[in-house]
Amino acid sequence: MKMLWDLFFSFFKVGLFTFGGGAAMLPLLQAEFVERRKWVTDSELMDFYSIGQCTPGIIAINTATFVGYKKQGKIGAIAATLGIVTPSIIIILLVASILSKYMHNPYVIHAFAGIRIVVVALILDAVVRLWKQGVKGRFGWGMFALSLLLLVAAGLSPVMIVILAGVAGYAFQLYLRRKRS
């Protein structure tokens, strides 16, 4: 029980002090779980993190689930995950409920008109940052172009495109392996 509480609380702390995405969390995870508590090693953490990047779901949650599972099995995984989402839930609900009262204030309206412009730049920045590890070779470019086409011309839903792209990627790897052997 003590261990479960520790798992919950230390991930609560990580959730509370992470600003931004999964990468921003990595140094906090290292400090808390590798150096302070010694629950996992550096290389284990890197493994969890990189698997978390390529499995369904938010990277932060995936990493929390891994560490929790390693320490205490399924219940540990649940405790760690609850720990990392609880600060988000509390803070966002608080901010959202306060903000919704001021959404008609002219200053708030102007501020968000400015913010909405920068959000576009931030999304574009995310694409550029992810490009290097995401699009590899002619197949990568082809998949990128094809997905864009299916999205614009055929209006497929994002879920559908991810599923199709996954099947295509798997088939391509299989084809490469056949050719090699």
Partner: protein, 172 residues
Amino acid sequence: MIYALLFWEFFKIGLTAIGGGMVTIPFLLDLADKYDWYTKGELMDMIAISESTPGPIGVNMATYAGYNTAGIWGGIVATFGLVLPSLVVIILIAKYLFAKEEGGFLRQALFGIRPAVLALILFAGWELARLSLINWQSVLIAIVSFGLIRWLKWHPIVYICLAAVIGIVFEL
């Protein structure tokens, strides 16, 4: 039943959004199209606030979108919908991972998924840009801020706060 629908939609996002918080944006945009839960403009506010508050962006956005749709319980239900697939999938993987290392099917599928996801995010960015880049001033601000983001690589909060000030000063 709005809660069941919220849970289901965010469960699907949790299952298919591979690669972190920003990846959920095209899926959230899709929901804005499909239901009248929140507008695309509100989605942009949610992105900005989720980047500037503590917690992983993906979780923050789910809570926010759920709250906008159905109040406090909506926020909680959406978040748990998003989290559940991770929990199940990782527990399954962890079981085998500690035994053998191969990522198997998923690692190969990723070869196709990663470029597709980038197309999704780019297209979502384009759709949102059409809403907020409405005159030459806003296009100019977007270009300059993109340059600064790439060049200085400061935390997004800095640019979001600056943009708020610019918005107020120039009455955008």
